[in-house]
Symmetry: C2
Subunit: 109 residues, 2 copies
């Protein structure tokens, strides 16, 4: 697994984070971001990014299995984070913590 697949753009990172604890469908991801004061990403950014994340193996999708009376409107497609997706979020956090703590080797002292 070359770790270059795990590199995330800012939008991909928030989208992935929105899936970290719960599976969600598209517009639900958007609502989660908007409710938390994130920079507004439109569905024109959302769907292509979900597709890219899926292609990289960081998320999986499945069509909603709810009965039609459960909600109005069209079918929902649910997105779920994969183990590789979780790892991608972790790697980013480890990078931020690592660069902060890093110290140069002072030869001698």
């Amino acid at each position: 697994m070359s770790e270059s697949n795990l590199r995330l753009t800012p939008n991909q990172e928030v989208i992935l984070a929105a899936l970290r604890l719960h599976r969600r469908y598209g517009l639900e991801i958007l609502a989660a971001i908007e409710s938390n004061g994130g920079k507004q990403i439109g569905f024109n950014s959302l769907y292509p990014n979900l597709k890219k994340l899926e292609k990289k193996g960081l998320v999986q999708s499945e069509w909603g299995d709810e009965p039609p009376e459960a909600h109005s409107g069209a079918r929902r497609k649910y997105y779920r984070i994969t183990a590789a997706g979780i790892r991608a979020l972790e790697i980013k956090q480890e990078l931020l913590a690592g660069v902060a703590a890093w110290r140069p080797e002072t030869e001698g002292a």
Copy 2:
């Protein structure tokens, strides 16, 4: 303080993170990132981004006060994170945590 100033590009985020705990000079920031497996950012990306961060008030800079014999080579310029810079990193983390935990209001039950 409009929070739009606090929006960070990916490179700006790692650079800021590298300054979170220690003041550092340019090439030291690069070394910190490289040592932690971050995507390689060159000094052609570094200096313009440091300037942008300074303009936004997220970092401050000062010329090194070391005696000339402390290290070989040219003068170092040290960068230091500001309170607003710390806040920008926090906001990002809160966003990631917030979107993960968010739940839609289920009207009724």
